[in-house]
Symmetry: C2
Subunit: 92 residues, 2 copies
């Protein structure tokens, strides 16, 4: 797990990483793929899409297990990296 | 044009507005629709998607016409409102 940094959103710790893209269509595909991952886990990241990049932040606001960066958030950060590599390999 | 506020991203003025959704799938549909609008104008907003809401910010970084909130940004903010109403009406 590389290049994920710790940051705060609404006072809650998140793991955050930006992914860069040459084409907007490619960044949109990536965002949608991560959204699919999020739906399957019923746990949704904060994502920012702008020209050339998508920034993904995983954190838990409130749960029985606490808040901040939990095991599930670290796992989903790793899964997000895998999705990025998978989509890059496909040359979408 | 209501509820758009002036804010700054990377030192550039933007018009920004948040739209709320009960379902994540609906917020994702809206983001994709705005992305389609952006592609058709070859001008891309900053969008944040998180649980329950999408925040759209229109601004121009650098162009022959200047930077900040230009006529095109105001127009696209209006078009974004229309898209939201259109999708709400369709009960997606």
């Amino acid at each position: 797990m590389s290049n994920w940094t710790l940051c705060q959103h609404e006072g809650i710790d998140h793991l955050e990483k930006s992914y860069t893209f040459k084409k907007y269509s490619k960044s949109l595909c990536f965002l949608n793929a991560v959204a699919g991952l999020a739906e399957s886990y019923v746990h949704h990241p904060r994502m920012v899409i702008e020209w050339g990049k998508v920034t993904v932040a995983w954190g838990t606001h409130e749960s029985d297990e606490g808040s901040g960066v939990l095991v599930r958030d670290r796992h989903l950060a790793e899964e997000t990296d895998k999705l990025f590599e998978l989509l890059q390999a496909k040359q979408i």
